[in-house]
Symmetry: C2
Subunit: 301 residues, 2 copies
Amino acid sequence: MAVIECVPNISEGRRTNVIEAVRAALSAVPGLRVLDVQSDASHNRSVFTLAGDADAMKAGIPKLFESALAAIDLRTHQGEHPRLGAVDVVPFIPIEGVTMEACVELAKAVAADVAARFSLPVYLYEDASSNPARKNLEDIRRGEFEGLAAKMTQPAWVPDYGPATPHQTAGATVIGARMPLIAYNINLATNRLDVAKKIASAIRMSSGGLRYVKAMGIALEDRGIVQVSMNLTNYEKTPIFRVFDLVKREAARYGVTVLESEIVGLVPAAALMQTAEYFLQLEGFTPGQVLENKLSSRRAE
Amino acid sequence: MAVIECVPNISEGRRTNVIEAVRAALSAVPGLRVLDVQSDASHNRSVFTLAGDADAMKAGIPKLFESALAAIDLRTHQGEHPRLGAVDVVPFIPIEGVTMEACVELAKAVAADVAARFSLPVYLYEDASSNPARKNLEDIRRGEFEGLAAKMTQPAWVPDYGPATPHQTAGATVIGARMPLIAYNINLATNRLDVAKKIASAIRMSSGGLRYVKAMGIALEDRGIVQVSMNLTNYEKTPIFRVFDLVKREAARYGVTVLESEIVGLVPAAALMQTAEYFLQLEGFTPGQVLENKLSSRRAE
């Protein structure tokens, strides 16, 4: 059975009745599981974590738009987090038994559907992007709701679906497909912040490092050590073990050792499997050899 | 949901109608999945791989005995594989959401049940064993069906359940609980068989090595290399990464490097997770952080 994760962000983090109404609308959809809801009052934003197959997503996401758009008016919305829309961003993430291509198709189908139903401009992003200049969420969202009407007059910002002008209360929405993010930190046995910053600079794509790494060097003041704090945006192409080995090697250049590493939040099983495969020099290993995979695939028969 | 694996071995590998009757009896049990059946004609033996919870096992295993005992007569049975009973051995293996203690209780309950139903002597083994001298399957099975009547006259071989004399056609059965086995081989970049044998001797418990390792050194003639061929009988207590590191270190002693390693057949996900955790020096990692675990646990709500 295919499992797709979806993490819609809506521009409401204060009114619990609105957040609960959205949750209730999603929970009522057959086959759609609401795994988590996190609301932040200062951001005035809520993040839903959903799981299900493509049909469940196609049925559920329009319900989310329906209940969020009925309650949120961006003309009076205030919060610390940048936002373009009442439903701000909707990423689909392939987890199990589903390809990235299928998630891209799903993103486009949902985008076309909600654009038509709600007369809402929709931009595609990340792997679903129609245009390299509109791949990154930050580029699409720059100027936010308040700058959207002016931005949309530019030919480069004609939306992928829906009208060429903002929705009066709901702005525009960004929908797409991406790999799961891994938040990965490596702690160094030193208090030298300059070393953490130099390693971060060496490892991240933006300054010449690995393609799917974002990194910064920070101090953990209370422990008297420093950390290379990273987001790994595609663990299949830039695997976690290569990041670990490269950081360790760069640290050795300064006479510094790795104290420990940590994964913050969730990690796909495959990212850890590939790590075991690498360090054990495993030849000819397949996911079908993992006992739990065999049990779960047979379960579906 | 608890998942227990059970791998009963029956003394019939030739008559497909008998093997199919046993399979059909098992398949009819609600909640019991028959994952695999492997029959060997020269061994005259079949190995069933089953999965389910304790209730499914309690319902299914007596059905297996019923159909196997009706068709197998050990007085005329011939085959290369040692055997004590028509149903020779029944191990229960904890896989997911179930403790070893629960599998030991299950083994005892099933043993008591089949001993009473079929007037069959039953010995407990491995983690379910009642006696250190009766922990290993090989010790219990020594002498085989043909020597069983004489062996059972000794006080040390009074069975755990059932009559103190062999079942006329079905002998006796060995039932117990054990950890999943991992068949793990490490190939060395050398053709020196003496090196593989010395490393095997250093790593295995029987000659002073790690507690849950069985190992031998063999030649892979066609590739011109040698292999340390192992069974890891408890990956929680003797983890795969420690075995790999120790073999690598012993090999270095002879100027030999590890070419690759391989896992034959199935491996529990946890054995690979703990390997990634070790090599990445992960601190504070929990199984709940594996995305698939989160998805499957929520599925049960």
